[in-house]
Homo-oligomer: 459 residues x 2
Amino acid sequence: MKQRNEVPYKIYLSEEELPKAWYNVRADMKNKPAPLLNPGTLQPMTFEELQPVFCDELIRQELDNDTAYIPIPQPIRDFYKMYRPSPLVRAYFLEEKLGTPAKIYYKFEGNNTSGSHKLNSAIAQAYYAKMQGLKGVTTETGAGQWGTALSMACSFFDLDCQVYMVKVSYEQKPFRREVMRTYGAAVTPSPSETTEVGRRILAAHPGTTGSLGCAISEAVEAASKQPGYRYVLGSVLNQVLLHQSIIGLETKAALDKYSIVPDIIIGCAGGGSNLGGLISPFMGEKLRGERDYRIIAAEPASCPSLTRGKFAYDFCDTGMVCPLAKMYTLGSDFIPSANHAGGLRYHGMSSILSQLYHDGLMEAVSVEQTEVFKAAELFARCEGTLPAPESSHAIRAAIDEALKCKETGEEKTIVFGLTGTGYFDMVAYGKFNDGQMSDYVPTDEELAASFAKLPKVNQ
Amino acid sequence: MKQRNEVPYKIYLSEEELPKAWYNVRADMKNKPAPLLNPGTLQPMTFEELQPVFCDELIRQELDNDTAYIPIPQPIRDFYKMYRPSPLVRAYFLEEKLGTPAKIYYKFEGNNTSGSHKLNSAIAQAYYAKMQGLKGVTTETGAGQWGTALSMACSFFDLDCQVYMVKVSYEQKPFRREVMRTYGAAVTPSPSETTEVGRRILAAHPGTTGSLGCAISEAVEAASKQPGYRYVLGSVLNQVLLHQSIIGLETKAALDKYSIVPDIIIGCAGGGSNLGGLISPFMGEKLRGERDYRIIAAEPASCPSLTRGKFAYDFCDTGMVCPLAKMYTLGSDFIPSANHAGGLRYHGMSSILSQLYHDGLMEAVSVEQTEVFKAAELFARCEGTLPAPESSHAIRAAIDEALKCKETGEEKTIVFGLTGTGYFDMVAYGKFNDGQMSDYVPTDEELAASFAKLPKVNQ
């Protein structure tokens, strides 16, 4: 086995080396991400307009395109220390299995009970809600990782946590639901009778199993109707990418410790929170002209917002109550095929990442589900950890790059984000184990029909 | 918050500090654990008698009462480096929540896909099987942690892995089963038609949901009937405690780094693998008269082998095909009440721990299930990690000791073993969340009836 003693299996930073500030990549972007628009006036959303829905400090972070470093409050750093710094792992066994000259590293964010990187932003959002003297927060969850993370964060700060969980997940993932309940969250299957929008949808579509867009609409309504409550979101938003920059900052510090300069950085992309966080400091160097990297977003072929979407203003939710965001989008009522497992099913993409992609600063690849699970199984068997289906999109892309190196003989250094574990995704693994997993790629006609419904502001 | 800067939240050893040898506590025991007896001849089992069932090197380790340090082969150390050294965590948030002057540390073994410490022995046993040129191994699993660990280990060394899973768990824990299948294991619900003993039991008890004892008997038969196969076991045996000494060695090294001397060391106890591993080096110091510690086994009130069992020779399995072991036992056909969640349901206890307990070198407490889950919930909410029900017995006992310190004002240092995570135990958590968890304590009459069936060798 090659070079096994050069670099340890796991590079850990000490707790003192935990970053003291988040990095805001917008500060270094020449072309800033387009602002959120008020769907009524088509003017940029103001602080005051956002205030009924979001926490004040989080709105400031959302709108701040200029401050490069935003200090991490001490209580958040203390919480981070329970599960961070997270390890940067050298995938020696995977390299050996592939027979590649490439050096592969992954930043592992799954060693916490939420099972993913979502906790990094959840604890920040809960903290600011608490500091504002709020009683609680509402949110939606699909696969359940964000809801779990938020319930842990709220329990820590003694905040009420109301989670609208897409009904089909609520029923198919009872264990995720129980984790949230153990942390004291109230979990409601969506659509529900508890909101107007929920009742309206139930009347129109009796027996519906819900959608993420519908759950967002319910959570936003629930927040706006209860004094002392705000709505929080686990991806897509600028503030979330800011909090997730902790992933990239730690990754860069760990690499710097061993003077390692990556050639390729890969992250899976749904709404963009993990990818945006992982690449932030590297993208910053690239934007400042200090260093060049290949940066690759790996998205599902069944929900290909970057590779096949339009760069346009669109609604963030299917209920069309949220502001308009300029992003790569498949259209706000695009729903990935039912056979698509796990997360990464959002129709749009972070405005920051969309702008960077539009400006040619990063690449994107789409990968098919069966190939993703093959990569996941290979990874589990040689690296030990059973990965989340979402994370496995990045594994697939990293393996593909490592296999190219095998052909060319290039010793490239590849870093990818292993966002989480798949312990609550065993239904999907079961399908794969039984040979019953299939692939689905939307047709051009389906996408064209969806694009036709984009809001008129784009015309 | 007190002293938060004295000691980090998580003490990590470097990979170079990973122990290079396991510690065999038997070498320092004046009263050695009693030998396994051949149930036919009532003579100590010889190497040759054990050879058809166990791997050669593992038998040597099983019978070796003298060698204090046994080197860890490099391939096992390499595998360990994927998830070890595991962190020793200072429970600052739990201390604060309890308002105790006690300092609480826990050694966290759950940060790997098997979700527990079982992987430490699984990889060793798989390695020795591979070195012997075997094709595969068989085993049983109840709650599924051991089966998962073994399937990961076998997949790593490309060994066939056949797991007999207690039928009720096979049906109620389909996700554990899928994890094992993802690592390539063949999982059979027990009792099954694949073995003679299985067919016999099915004929006698149609519709039975199985038991650990029955699954052991099937796994032993399956190993003995297939050339190139051996049977492996995840707890109770001396060899397993030897491998698990890695837990205690790392714990001691981490404490030594900060000159911390614990007053109390607590582990949950089922078959004894975690407890035995955690306490080994501390018990060694105690046995050699170098230092004194309070060492406490925490066991379920519903399966109280140390606190209410007999110290006697008994069968290790309910099928009575295995050797006799001298241990604290509730009788080999004792089955804990169906309301008992999680593992720790073994009728006996490691011979090593039984002897140490008999000699007054450690204490034992029994804790009731509802109190255990209350401790688990409290722990999850302030320390982040959702613990396994098994581990939560130790949490309960540690909290109880910390609360005593609160009364007396003593600043004791408490170390406990957090053996694993509860991500596959959400059915039990759901019961607790719904207020439907109950306690059960066997009556004296029930135990007396079970003791009456102990083998005659004891008379």
